[in-house]
Structures are given as C-alpha cells and as structure tokens.
C-alpha cells in the first residue's frame, strides 16, 4: 500500500509513468517480434533506438536539467563505443559468456566516457552559454579526429597501440581491433534488444534517483540561478561537474551498446550530426522531461524508416516535420489553448 502510494505520489508520478511506459513498450515489442510480423528494418532498429534513448536521457540531464548546451554527446558515445570494442576484443577468449562480457563492455565504456567527460568538464564548465556549447562541439570534433587515427591490435603478447600510422606488427594469430579511418573492425556482436531495455531501465533509475535527491535539487538550483545557489551554500562547480560527468557516462554506455550491435563502426559515425540528432530528440521530448525524451527518441529514430514509402523525399518530409513541429509548439495560441485545457482537466480531476 505504501509502495503504491509512493508510486502515485504527485511528485514522483512521472517516474512511475516512464517506467510503466518503457516496460509496456518492451513487452509489446517482444510479443510483436515473436509473432513474426516485424519487418527486418524495424527489428534492426530496435537496439539503435535503445542506444539513442540512453544517450538522449544522458544529454537531457545535461541540457535540460543542468542547463548547459552540449553539442558533443556523440563524442562521448564514441569514447564508450571504442573502449567497449577494445574490452570485447581483449576478453573474448577469457570470458565465453556473452552477457557478462556485454555488461563488462558497457561498464568500461561508461567509466571511460565518464572519465573523459570529467577531464573535459574542467575547461568546459569555466565557460557559459554559447561559448560552452562551442567548446563541447570542439571536443566532439577532437575526439573524432583522434579516434580516426587510432590503431589498436591484440595478439598473444597483449594489446598494442599506434597513432597516426599503422606501425603495429602483430604476431601470428593477432587481430586488429581498431584500424584508423576504418574504425572498429571485426567486432563480435553481442548486443540484444533485452540488453538495451535493461540499460534504459538502469539509466532511468539513476537519473530519477538523482532528480529527486539533494544533489538533483542542487543541480536545478544552479541552472535557475547560479548566484542564488552559491549564496545558500551549494558548490556550483562540483554540482555542475556531477551532471556533466554522469551525462557523458550515460553517453558512453549508449555508445558501448551501439558498438556491440555492429561488427564494424567508423569513428565518423559519431560526428557533429549525431550530436545534433540527439539534441533534437531531447528538445522535442522536452527539456528535463525523461518520459518525453523516451517517446521523442523512439518516434524520431523510427520516423525516417516509417517514411520510407516516400522514398527519396523522406528526409525532406522529416525536415519539414521538424520545422513545423517547432513552430506549432511555440505558437502562442496553441500554448494558451493547451494551458487552458490542462487547467480544465485539473478542475475535473479535483
């Protein structure tokens, strides 16, 4: 009874709704998949959707919750993805169990991306507004160029790294894991839709726990008014760092899961456009609104595939949908209409 009450508590209701939605969607998709009616295209999108949802949840923590415009989330995804690929290549013979290896890869990806996020946050959080945004963009580009020139191979003697040119001379039976501009090659695919679903639940759990905690309120306070937050004794820089690092770690976990879904992925997959795409999901889902993020990401990742019947016009329609959606949701008449509707519903409910 107490649990039920806490589930339907006014304050935490959105958490319950989000979890219920994700679980229902998972059951629905699994049943649909088992019935054999799912096209290959849709089923091939299931894991990427999960990845983008996790990355978007992380970014929403940063953009919506902490109020810092981050244009480099794809960079953290690539750090997580490449780390996971290396870990996967190393432990392939040691740990035969795919699930344990996948968990290990995702954790390694998240930790590495979180660490890089922490390093980057030191200069980034000294800046504000658009200057902060451009520095995150710059870091995204730097990470991409560096990974594009990275060579990693593994053989009996251990792991070998090279930079710029492939100078690795692997022993017999050795294998390249990362080969420069070609990116990760020969990766063993171990992702699954269930793993994606669990990762979404875990990241939602982390984010919601943070949101309703003391630290979460401190993050919001720093977003709304830095100076006021400082005067009540909140340590602004460490609070903002917490949000930034957690956001990049979630991005890294998403990237790790993404990487484990393909046998080869180039670093250029995680470019500026990918960062922007995730930002679009976050903004359309609603800043600070995790339920919205999950729905918007799912719809927007699926939309170009759903529009496939329009063939070459699909991306054009996608662009128009994006613009029109933004104009409508910001129209004053529409805003006041939804507001009065909401008030009416509340009156009825009370």
């Amino acid at each position: 009874m107490k649990l039920l009450k806490s589930l339907l508590n006014q304050r935490t209701r959105s958490r319950t709704v989000t979890f219920a939605l994700v679980i229902a969607a998972y059951i629905g998709v699994t049943v649909f998949k088992a019935s054999g009616n799912m096209t290959r295209m849709v089923s091939s999108l299931l894991v990427p959707v999960c990845c983008y949802i996790v990355a978007a949840i992380g970014l929403n923590l940063n953009v919506g919750f902490s109020g810092e415009l981050n244009l480099g989330q794809a960079g953290f995804m690539s750090v997580g993805g490449f780390t996971a690929a290396i870990v996967n290549g190393l432990t392939l013979s040691m740990i035969p169990n795919d699930i344990i290896r996948l968990i290990l890869c995702i954790i390694a990806g998240a930790i590495m991306a979180g660490f890089v996020g922490w390093l980057i946050s030191i200069p980034v959080l000294k800046l504000e507004g658009d200057y902060l945004a451009i520095v995150t963009l710059a870091f995204g580009q730097i990470i991409m160029s560096l990974l594009n020139n990275l060579y990693v191979g593994v053989d009996k003697a251990g792991v070998h790294f090279a930079f710029m040119t492939n100078t690795l001379s692997l022993q017999e039976g050795g294998k390249m894991i990362v080969s420069g501009p070609m990116g990760v090659t020969g990766n063993t695919m171990i992702s699954s839709f269930t793993a994606g679903f669990v990762l979404i639940l875990v990241s939602l759990f982390i984010v919601f726990n943070l949101m309703y905690s003391k630290e979460g309120r401190a993050i919001q306070a720093c977003r709304d008014n830095k100076i006021a937050a400082e005067t009540v004794g909140i340590r602004v820089s460490s609070t903002k760092t917490l949000a930034f690092v957690l956001s990049s770690a979630l991005g890294g976990a998403a990237g790790a899961l993404y990487m484990m879904n393909y046998s080869s992925v180039a670093a250029t997959k995680f470019d500026f456009n990918t960062s922007i795409l995730i930002l679009v999901y976050v903004v359309l889902g609603g800043l600070g609104n995790m339920t919205g993020t999950v729905i918007a990401t799912t719809v927007l990742v699926m939309l170009p595939e759903m529009l496939r019947f329009l063939s070459s016009y699909r991306m054009l329609v996608y662009a128009i949908v994006l613009i029109v959606m933004m104009i409508i949701t910001n129209n004053e008449k529409v805003l006041s209409a939804t507001e009065s509707f909401r008030r009416k519903m509340k009156k009825k409910g009370a």
Binding site: K126, D130, I134, L137, A138, Q141, L279, S312, A319
Partner: protein
C-alpha cells in the same frame, strides 16, 4: 619562403572563413540565434554559380551576381517562414528549427541536383611571382575581397542610418522599437546581408576547392561558426580576426604537423583561447548584476 606561402594560403582560407563568420556573427548579434542553416546557404550559392558558369556558360561575374541574388532572397525567405514565428521562443527551439532548415536545404539539393560531386570550372589560374615566392591570383583576390567586405561593412554599420538601427536592435530590441525602428525589417536586412556574404564566400570556396555537392556547406559552416565564437560572437572585427587566425592555424598545422590532425589542432587552439579569454578575442565582457 615556404612558410610565407603557407601563411598566405592560410590567409586565403581564413578570408573565406571570415566572410562566412561575418554572416553568423551579424545574425547572432541581432537575432540572438545560431543560424546553423548558414552553411547550407553557402552550398546553394555554390550550386547557383556552378550552373551559371559551367552549364549555361555565362560570364563569371553573372554567376557571382546570380548566386548573391538567389542567396539573399533565400536568406530572407528562410527568416520569414521559419524563424519569424519563433521570435519569442526559447533559443533551443530556434536552434532546432535552424537544424531543420539545414536538413531541408541539403535534401532539397540532393533531390534537385543529385548527390554526385560536380567539378567547378577553373575561373582564374596563374599566379603572381615575387622572387621565389609564388602566390595564386585566386588567393590574392580572396584576401582582397575579404578586406573590401570588411571595410564596407564596418562603414555601413557605423555610418549609415540602417547600420545604426542594427546596432540599436542588437543592444535592445524593445527600446529600438520604441525609437521607431522597424525591428522586423532590420532583422530581414541582416539575414539578407549575411546570406549575400555567404554567396560570395561560396564562390571563393569552390574556386579554390573545386567540388560542388549537397553537403558542401557543413564543414565550412562549423569552422566559420568556430571562427565567429573565437573572435567573440556578435563582434564584426572579431569574426574577421577569428576567421583569419583559424585559416592560418589550419593551413600551418596541415603543412607542418599533420593533415589528418589539422581539425583537432584548430579546435584545440580554440579551446585554449577561450580558456584565456572566455568571451573570445574581441568579445564584450558582460557583467552580471545580482
């Protein structure tokens, strides 16, 4: 001598960035928005010039004029249809709309003109030789164009009535409107000038790197945006300086350090500069009052 020629090459590239960055910076100064579709206006300009010069064999000057006219109109139309309804919306909504416009322009170009890369004809060859130093005429013209644009624009902003109105709008839109300035008209003019400049930059760009394709504008767009922030966004001399520095850094690191890592080095320099001067080279420091 080799260093000097790399330096001049860098200044040429930097001039193109500077002209694009001017458009970014002006729009930012007045509409307070990051116009991510600016790079794609460059692409449209390049296609216009390509069709005029290569396909219909019109004189180069006609191609330039056509590109400028089309881009100017395009800029104003984009502003009216997509950005004007969002005048009072949050800056993130406007940013997403700009991204939508960017997708729209890229995909329209793919549908209309195909995804293949077209080769822009050589419009100007030969180079000026002084001693052992040889500088292509094209680079000289690029640098000269940039300087002329810079001077004309500075005079326009500081000396004319419209320029004064622009400065007023960038300072305080509400107060400007009370002074009898038609704010919407000023914003349209800003977009027109920015897009016209983008067209000029596009021709200088494809004359140097002669391939024309639908996503041509993305990378120069990002670089110019970086240049605008580098110099202090909203500041016109800042955009000019930022563009030149960025071009020189890029060209020198390409020549002396590594071609593959030149982008990484450019962005690294940007980060270091922003750490020392958090509002860019010539940006205004805004004091926040409690």
């Amino acid at each position: 001598m080799a260093f000097l020629s790399y330096l001049i090459g860098g200044l040429g590239l930097g001039s193109v960035y500077a002209i694009i960055a001017l458009g970014y910076s002006m729009v930012y100064g007045i509409a307070k928005m990051l116009n991510f579709a600016h790079g794609d206006v460059i692409m449209v300009g390049a296609f216009m010039a390509y069709f005029a010069i290569s396909k219909y064999h019109l004189p180069v000057l006609v191609g330039v004029v056509l590109a400028v006219v089309v881009c100017t109109i395009l800029g104003v139309v984009i502003e009216r249809l997509a950005y004007k309804p969002l005048r009072h919306a949050s800056s993130l909504s406007v940013l997403i709309t700009a991204i939508g416009v960017s997708y729209f322009l890229q995909n329209s170009a793919m549908l209309l003109w195909g995804t293949d890369t077209k080769i822009f004809p050589t419009v100007l060859s030969g180079s000026l030789t002084v001693g052992s130093l040889s500088v292509p005429y094209l680079t000289l013209i690029t640098i000269l164009t940039c300087i002329v644009i810079m001077i004309v624009l500075t005079l326009f902003i500081n000396r004319t009535k419209t320029g004064r109105a622009m400065r007023a709008c960038s300072e305080d839109k509400g107060a400007a409107a009370l002074m009898g300035i038609n704010v919407n008209r000023i914003i349209s003019i800003t977009f027109a000038i920015g897009s016209g400049l983008a067209a000029i930059a596009s021709i200088l760009l494809v004359a140097t790197y002669p391939s024309v394709y639908p996503t041509l504008g993305s990378m120069p767009g990002i670089k110019a945006f970086t240049a605008a922030v580098f110099g202090g966004i909203g500041s016109i001399p800042g955009a000019f300086l930022g563009g030149l520095v960025l071009g020189v850094v890029e060209n020198l690191s390409r020549a002396y350090i590594s071609t593959q890592l030149s982008d990484a080095i450019v962005f690294m320099v940007l980060i270091v500069v922003l750490l020392i001067k958090p509002t860019g080279l010539l940006g205004k420091k805004v004091n926040v009052k409690v």
